[in-house]
Symmetry: C3
Subunit: 263 residues, 3 copies
């Protein structure tokens, strides 16, 4: 059994974080809330989304596992205005999901969950670099990198990079979080010191990992500009990005496998 | 002879209601005003547009029948800002229409009216269902239906549909106007009770007709969000939609033939 | 050596005036400032851009000649917000240009200037017609002409054209600057009298020249709406358009060769 009411803006931004990676997913429901774990078909990018029961306007659910067509679901949710309430109800006989938005009723067929790619286990990693950065800074670095290459590095350094700072930005000696990309002729580099970040802990190490811009670009688009993103970076390790939506109403974790450079 | 001045916004929204159905049309002018009747090449959708003489800023016309290239005419009118005055004058010698917009003069060749599809006779229908609904509600139903099918039904029912109402909407016992579409796997339904409509008269009957979404979508785009649309619905009958532009300065009637479902 | 700081909005609008004509160009630097002269591959349209040293927030340069990929450079400048400061510095060893925008550092490879099309000599012309007109009026005439043809005429006339004025516009006897285009069936004409222009001097002659709309359209897009454009027109002569960006911080001259009509 599942019946809930939720703010349309929260549901939309939540679904977006998953749909940038996969077209269909398993949705787990229980009395704690709604959760989704998904990995893209190439096993490179993972997402974990949690919307706790108390973030809904109303919520009742027994343990359920639903198979959701995200493309279709996004279209439906897109019919709502930001402030609308979306009512979702599972018809247990037909196994269809009824979605109501202000007088509009959409009956959505669910997918057999067994036909959907298995849910990933998001690994626990203990990575040296630990940075809190604004969503807009990440987006900017990713966008700039896209001008010169199809992959980019995230890294932490104990020293500020020589000449990397503009006259107006003081990069402190406490280290730097950087994003950089090397193209055939041109390079891009963003150095963010303590003053540009919400918090910075380099772990006292130099660490850098390389990632596909395809994935980073998709993920960055789903991260709100004003989110505080907790980025964990290692040396040739996956990157982990944690953030919240709508002031804490939903929790999202991205994990992206590194691209190992062929030398 | 024909010479007139008209508000650009009024002329633009008027022309749009016709151009969604046809690329060229006959324009009738007489001392009463300007009128257009047109039917699309497949004879499925009709439009009737009237702009009375008093809706113009100035208006003088003898009986004239002009053949108008609407694609070209829309481009010209699109050069004006909403508050501009558009001056149109027929050059009787050259049979060209001079259109002036703030220092810009466009000389438009007219089409031989005999080469244009005949004007339709918009039939008088006495349909049971009689609903006044906001343009934005129609648009919304049409847009939602487009997610699951290429055709949709308009109908009236004496009872509110079971489970069709959300918790927040009280559908009264006085009946419902509904829009619905059935896809291969998913369904969409919008139920509008007395409280959601400007007025509702089901005629004491159940009636439903099916229409092509191609046409409904085009027509809905030309209906202003804030227009009160008088919808007349029957059982496997055409639908008639009457509305006004710019607070009554122009009158529009759409008539759309039903699509008979093959069983 | 070259090191400068400049407002992003000024740099962006300056670069746009050149990039509408060419994809790469030579940039001359000296203590007076930055200047670019370029002509399109067909030798039809020329541009001359000057940003004096005092328009920069800071500026230091020895005589330098740089080869710039404008497509790439525009993308980089596009990363900045309008109010940002862009820092450019030439690395004399690597001959690369470092561009810094608020924490972002882009290292741009320069092109060998010798591989770039030679800089044109913008000729001194003494043309009869001398008009100061708002950028938005030019754009409007060019856009309207595009509806009927792929070329258009600029001209000056001592008399106001018969019937060219609307009821609301008084074209004085002091002459007219006009833009006109003749299509296969339709014509467009914009007549601007003294009251519609910032200043008008017809030189006491009738003069008209025909131009390619491809070029005029590109140039018009790079002219700010609120710029006062000094247009010099002759009889089957090039047209010269001078204007300033950002209230005088940069000076631009366009020169466009006439298209001689085959009779």
């Amino acid at each position: 059994m599942f019946r809930s009411e939720i703010n349309a803006g929260l549901l939309k931004s939540s679904v977006d974080t998953v749909s940038v990676l996969v077209d269909e997913c398993k949705v787990r429901l229980d009395e704690e809330g709604l959760s989704i774990k998904a990995v893209d078909p190439a096993n490179v990018g993972m997402v974990e989304l949690d919307i706790p029961a108390e973030s809904f306007e109303s919520y009742e659910a027994d343990d359920e596992l639903l198979g959701l067509n995200l493309v279709r679901f996004e279209d439906i949710v897109g019919m709502a205005n930001k402030g609308d309430t979306i009512v979702m109800e599972l018809d247990e006989e037909t196994r269809k999901l009824t979605i109501r938005i202000d007088g509009l009723r959409y009956t959505l067929s669910l997918i057999d969950p067994d036909s959907i790619h298995q849910e990933p286990n998001v690994p626990d990693l203990d990575l040296p670099g630990d940075i809190d950065v604004a969503g807009r800074e990440l987006r900017r670095g990713v966008k700039a990198a896209g001008m010169v290459s199809d992959h980019m590095a995230f890294g932490v350094s104990e020293q500020s990079s020589d000449g990397a700072s503009t006259g107006s930005t003081d990069v402190s000696d406490d280290g730097t979080f950087y994003m950089r990309a090397e193209g055939d002729t041109d390079d891009v580099r963003v150095d963010l010191g303590e003053d540009d970040l919400i918090s910075l802990d380099t772990g006292g190490e130099e660490a850098e990992s390389l990632f596909s811009l395809d994935y980073l670009d998709s993920m960055a688009k789903a991260i709100p500009n004003d989110a505080a993103v907790a980025v964990e970076v290692g040396d040739d390790y996956p990157v982990k990005m944690n953030f919240e939506l709508a002031g804490g109403d939903a929790h999202v974790t991205y994990l992206l496998a590194p691209r190992i450079e062929n030398e």
